[in-house]
């Protein structure tokens, strides 16, 4: 099987020849730039600075040589602009707080404040208020909340819709070219088109906007889902209409060369519980997810990918009913998310893209032997009958030892019956 066929089989719940592997095809299945650099060193690949293609989480770009060395099966298509609103072009050198030389987009413009924190600016505009902050000696950015005072009588859903416009011809051309450029790779294509994440708390603060309006404070947004639900519905309703119109145009441009679409990263789970009840989910989110997924299933061959961290077992039946085909990151360490239970209860209807190893404990802090044991255990559960794309539980974090990452990849190869790197 080619990688593309392997992923397609897995997503169709058929047993592929090998368990397919993804690292780097989305902003939630990636690897911190320092770890990408460490992997390149480990495999003796050409020494060159790694590109930070996603500056918010400082994710490193997986070049073709590293993809081959790791045996990856999925390519990613990304939006033309980053979380901070500037395009991933005109690469320039930058040094991380830890002293690693990397490449960043040309408009990755920063200043260091009196405290030693690194501030980053929306669209690279140094005259705007900074949109992100990396603590001194930190590894990635967090959004800076820029919330204007809220006048309850003047709240307008349009203010929270600034980022959800109809797609431009230039952006459409970007997606078309990006998808076409991957035609010869033999890998599956995962695309992030944007615009269909309803209330994703990473996006609500609008780090890509120079002057975000509306409700942009994280806590205020969470409260609004309970206290201003009609207002949030009006935002989602309009966002959904725009999203559907854009998907139609995008599909017309890229066709079915795309295998799966990362639609929404809104987190519904916490480590031990949930951010809302199932009843709230079904009232506030479900109708929009269903409309998006129904359109995709009726009009394309794409699979629908939902990311939600945490304890989300209670939502899974609704995810499936809403039309999602794939769940990520499958946080098995959260309450009620044991691998065997998820696979047995939902594995025939939902593909798991993640869950391969815990990035909170085993991968960063365990021994290589512990990593291997956990990876083999997860593979033995999730790989049964297909329905599984191997990936760690969310991005591999900075500070993860190269030896542990290699132990993870080797365990997958061992399970797949392929020669290991050791």
């Amino acid at each position: 099987m080619t990688s593309k066929e392997r992923v397609a089989a897995a997503l169709d719940h058929k047993q592929p020849d090998l368990v397919p592997v993804d690292f780097g095809s989305t902003a939630v299945t990636g690897i911190h730039v320092s770890c990408v650099a460490a992997l390149r060193d480990y495999f003796g690949l050409e020494k060159r600075p790694v590109k930070v293609h996603e500056p918010y989480q400082m994710l490193g770009w997986m070049d073709e040589d590293l993809k081959r060395a790791l045996g990856l099966d999925v390519d990613g298509v990304f939006p033309p602009r980053t979380m901070f609103g500037f395009p991933t072009i005109d690469w320039k050198p930058w040094r991380t707080p830890q002293g690693l030389e990397v490449l960043v987009p040309g408009n990755f413009n920063t200043r260091v404040d009196a405290k030693g924190d690194t501030l980053i600016y929306p669209e690279g505009d140094l005259s705007a208020r900074p949109a992100g902050r990396m603590p001194k000696d930190g590894f990635f950015f967090d959004t800076i909340i820029r919330q204007e005072p809220i006048d309850e009588d003047k709240l307008d859903p349009e203010d929270n819709l600034e980022e959800f416009g109809l797609i431009s011809d230039a952006d459409l051309a970007h997606f078309k070219m990006a998808v076409e450029s991957l035609a010869g790779s033999g890998r599956a294509v995962m695309a992030t088109f944007g615009g269909t994440a309803f209330g994703d708390i990473a996006l609500v603060p609008g780090p890509f906007l120079k002057s975000p309006r509306g409700i942009r404070d994280v806590a205020e947004w969470y409260m609004s889902t309970a206290s201003r639900r009609d207002f949030v519905h009006r935002i989602f309703e309009r966002q959904c209409e725009i999203g559907l119109a854009n998907l139609a145009r995008i599909h017309a441009a890229v066709g079915n060369a795309v295998d799966a679409v990362f639609l929404c990263g809104t987190d519904f789970g916490t480590q031990m519980s949930a951010f809302c009840s199932v009843a709230t989910f079904r009232d506030l989110y479900f109708p929009y997810y269903r409309r998006i997924n129904q359109w995709i299933h009726r009009n394309t061959a794409w699979k629908c990918f939902k990311h939600s961290c945490g304890s989300v077992e209670r939502f899974i039946p609704s995810f499936i009913e809403a039309g999602f085909d794939i769940l990520n990151p499958v946080q098995c360490s959260a309450a009620g998310m044991a691998a065997e239970h998820l696979k047995t209860a939902y594995g025939d209807r939902l593909a798991f893209w993640g869950g391969g190893v815990d990035t909170q404990k085993a991968l960063p802090f365990g021994t290589p032997a512990e990593v291997r044991a956990q990876v083999l255990d997860r593979l033995s559960i999730f790989a049964r009958g297909g329905g599984f794309i191997f990936n760690s539980i969310h991005n591999i974090q900075a500070g993860t030892p190269a030896g542990n990452m290699v132990a993870m990849f080797d365990a997958v190869r061992e399970f797949n019956g392929v020669a290991t790197h050791a």
């Binding site: 206290s227 809302c276 900075a398 500070g399």
Partner: protein, 211 residues
């Protein structure tokens, strides 16, 4: 005379406007600030905590209740201080060095305030020496540390070490929490307690304050 049960219900329902209005009216009519706290606000926040524990309430409802409680408390606190009323305990709270994620910390802070604690909120990305100063100079008896990231969990250990180096570790209890933090990790770094959510953090702080 205002109907004081409305203060209880306003906090329970996350209605900040009504909570502030009832508190203002009650104080104008010389209702004891301590009575407002002990009879209406603390029981309301306890009930909020219970509803959170049994998953009737979630983070949005917790945030709304906390905001209503804080609005009311802002009016009451200066009067409590002037009257010399003793809090249940004094807690210095913050997210540890390098960690900017403060929603969980803010919830714990609010729940502790609602539970009758005097809370010194040191904010986010707090250097170990600031916790030490809060103990030495402001009399904190409990230090509450929050971390969301695997890369900042180590700062909890560093902060506890700083308390030891400053010779104040025996004067305070240290409680920890945050998504990647576990009971086992808390024990490994020598913390006195771990809480998995904002509601049980209040019960933990009460136990630590009484020990």
């Amino acid at each position: 005379m205002p109907e004081l049960w409305k203060l209880h219900d306003a906090i329970l329902n996350g209605d900040a406007k009504t909570a502030v209005a009832v508190t203002t009216e009650a104080l104008a009519e010389n209702v004891s600030p301590l009575e407002l706290v002990q009879k209406y606000m603390v029981p309301a926040m306890d009930l909020v905590g219970q509803r959170f524990e049994c998953e009737e309430y979630f983070v949005p409802e917790l945030l709304l209740a906390a905001r209503a409680m804080k609005g009311s408390l802002a009016l009451i606190r200066p009067l409590l201080v002037a009257s010399g009323a003793e809090p249940v305990g004094r807690v210095a709270i913050g997210t540890v060095k390098g960690d900017l994620h403060d929603i969980g910390k803010n919830l714990v802070s609010a729940m502790l305030e609602g539970g009758g604690f005097d809370v010194i909120d040191l904010g986010a990305d707090v250097a170990p020496e600031k916790f030490v100063n809060a103990v030495k100079e402001r009399g904190a008896k409990i230090v509450a540390l929050s971390a969301l990231l695997t890369v900042t969990m180590g700062s909890m250990k560093t902060t506890i070490q700083a308390l030891k180096d400053a010779g104040v570790r025996e004067e305070v209890k240290v409680m920890v929490g945050g998504a990647p933090v576990t009971e086992q990790f808390a024990q490994e770094i020598g913390a006195d307690g771990y809480s998995e959510n904002a509601s049980s953090a209040v019960a933990l702080a009460r136990r630590l304050a009484a020990s």
